[in-house]
Symmetry: C2
Subunit: 131 residues, 2 copies
DNA sequence: TTTAATATGTTATATTATAACATTGTTATA
DNA sequence: TATAACAATGTTATAATATAACATATTAAA
């Protein structure tokens, strides 16, 4: 079942399918329980798929929630530059796709001499409904 | 041992002292092992102190590392607006204190109708030494 | 001085994630 | 086709991170 770069393995497809159907972040063990009917029985199978999906940008990890969400930027070319809005009320998470913001952050430099190649930004607040 | 806003309880002081001495992010259990000589014996004691210290901005959590670091902005008035640079090589973490950046992000709005009151930004890359 | 609120101590357990190793499938090529 | 090299999978066990729940104690304020 090896495969060329860019293709997804069986387990990766199963996990991605499930994450894409939900449009909210999912916990790894919740994914596990739900893909058991598809044959994935143990945590490493899910975590390995997640690791790879995150690596290729199909899935993002919401670090403050230890949860995983499908990438909504159809191109998925900016997985090294992620931004999310998170409602503290209903927990809704939305991927922010804002060219000005990503341009600003991708070009950010400070005087530390550090060369940045990736960032992750999480905004918190209350959405319309929860306000 | 209740206390006025702004003062720290015994356990909070112990934990903060220890974190401030390190100038790198520390894991909760590593803190626990090291404050056991001071009488904090169990995880909840450490996590409770951490929760409070994070709440008041004396400590920040580096979400991508599940680690805790003392706030370096002497005023600690911006704990709702945090930014860090993280070296993927040596793992060094530095709090970014950049007025332009924080102004830009604090004022950020998108068309979602969401009202943001907090953000956390993590930059990744390689520092001078690791380049 | 009782009440309410905050902090602590303690045990147990929940949740998240990885180590380690055996096996199987795939690709390339000798 | 055989066989080597690699990628993916399966499996068990356990490590690492975090919280629930409840008892007790301390303090501040009504």
């Amino acid at each position: 079942m090896a495969q060329k770069q860019g293709y997804l393995s069986k387990n990766q497809k199963i996990v991605l399918d499930y994450i894409e159907k939900a449009n909210q972040p999912l916990k790894a063990y919740s994914i596990l329980f739900n893909v058991q009917k598809k044959g994935l029985k143990a945590p490493p199978q899910v975590y390995r798929a997640l690791d790879r999906l995150v690596e290729i940008g199909k899935v993002h990890k919401i670090e403050s929630k230890n949860a995983f969400v499908a990438c909504k930027n159809s191109s998925c070319t900016i997985s090294n530059a992620t931004a999310f809005s998170i409602c503290d009320g209903c927990e809704k998470v939305t991927e922010i796709s804002n060219p000005k913001l990503s341009k600003y952050l991708s070009g950010f430099q400070d005087n530390s001499g550090m060369k940045y190649n990736k960032y992750n930004l999480e905004f918190f607040g209350l959405c319309k409904k929860c306000r």
